[in-house]
Symmetry: C2
Subunit: 323 residues, 2 copies
Amino acid sequence: MRQAGRYLPEYRKLREKYSMLGMVRNPELAAEVTMQPLRRFDLDAAIIFADILLPLPLIGVDFSFIEGVGPRIHNPLRDPRDAERLREGDPEEELRFVAEAITLVREKLDPDRALIGFAGAPFTLASYIIEGGHSRNYLETKAFMYSFPDRWNMLMEVLTRVTIRYLKMQVNAGAQAIQLFDSWVGALSPGDYKHYARPFTSRIFSSLTACSVPLIHFGTGTSGFLGEMRSAGGTVQSVDWRIPLGKAWEIIGFDSAIQGNMDPLAMMAPVEVLKRKVEEVLEQAGTRDGHIFNLGHGFLPQTPVENVEFVVDLVHELTSGSR
Amino acid sequence: MRQAGRYLPEYRKLREKYSMLGMVRNPELAAEVTMQPLRRFDLDAAIIFADILLPLPLIGVDFSFIEGVGPRIHNPLRDPRDAERLREGDPEEELRFVAEAITLVREKLDPDRALIGFAGAPFTLASYIIEGGHSRNYLETKAFMYSFPDRWNMLMEVLTRVTIRYLKMQVNAGAQAIQLFDSWVGALSPGDYKHYARPFTSRIFSSLTACSVPLIHFGTGTSGFLGEMRSAGGTVQSVDWRIPLGKAWEIIGFDSAIQGNMDPLAMMAPVEVLKRKVEEVLEQAGTRDGHIFNLGHGFLPQTPVENVEFVVDLVHELTSGSR
């Protein structure tokens, strides 16, 4: 999950001077923000500071972040015919700054810490492109995919191709693992997931297999189709807090690694509740290899910094030696 | 699910003259709105036109509906000490109009159609009371329950007691089945569900067992803890579209009835897609007894009326004789 962000005072200080996208597009600043949580906490990996929406302009979709609201797409794709007119930019040119930030972080990062690159999965990106921002029910997205399956496929195709090139660029620049965020795919039924989303995610994972880096497959609200998610690919399946980790691992298969699955809201709890929640996740994981302790989704800006430190240290303490 | 509403032109016509709460609080109008979908569609049951937030004023929490936004709580419960000062009104006095509407509908309704009464479950009501309206992440609700467990219990206790009395009143007035809406409980982890929500839902169901009416237990996003939901009680478990119905029924147990589970957004699909989706749900249900065909959540205002008619007729056609 994104580790940097508004819960860190040093991040908020930078944000007084720069916009979020201003920092993302400046490799030195993006590298600095990526390193911020690593200076504070004993984390095993860093994740590059970027945003899943960055590739949108490469297909002709423009966006910005509205303070207190979130992402806003300036030209949402509502007329299905527009799917035929999407461009296909080159990440090596237009998202060069992400590669440069990755290379910079690798120079600064302790060699025993991994750097994770990432991208949004096609369904999740398509939902922003069609809805124009966040959505409660994905009305426009679902109506589009049900009504115009050919144009849906066109949109998903171009997102798939751009994402593959974008992620390969990140690996070439030094990313040692890749996370694919299908954050909103849990809005779909299992049948719709298999039909409208999985073929594209699956192509991304199979295209990246040759890169020989761990591939983390992220979703939320997917408790009902974890097996289908796994079959799309990825070497690590990320699960959210809505299912016990042990049950999720059993469904996914113990031959796969797993990431998760503490509720990010548990970070707001008093320390004794938080401790119990960390212990519950670790008990569910048991002594098997292949568990990455993480939240089930990103940090909230309101997260107390001292709780992050507490959790990171507790996880190391409880897992040292035994795992 | 609520069957009446903004997707019906005859409902929109009434709404030009009356507010939503104005109609709910007027037994004649509430009965009329309840009957509207029954006049158009060959439905097996009617559900009383009301709102899950109606009992809130009974504990001292006031709300209204803001056009285009949704419910807004005027005095959200943020100071935990306020949980000690909640009042406990009498539904027989303050929600008498719901009982009257139920009695009126029973007089009008074809005797072979059932009338369903309903209420919101304590966790879902508490989330509105604490957040002040809809929420993306339930930050305030979870922070409250983690930080002030005693005050959380006080709030849940009073909601539980009022809900039991409210539902008994509905059965006494003529409701032939009860649905308990724990619409947002899927935001919780299974552990938190068991700890902070289930004890109260469980008490409601056990208090209603003596009423000898079917009890429908509704949730969304609960694919990861359907077994825990079932153990809270209810004779019918309602599941959403995020899990195949067959898999859900297996987890819940085939000795329980099940309700669901078409995606309400599928109602926006062209008729050939919609047909496939109805068939998928019925195939998953198989030829067992105890399946109530329904959506996994309520109708959207944008739902085309002709699609509702198509689905109702198709379900009857495909299930007549065989089930």
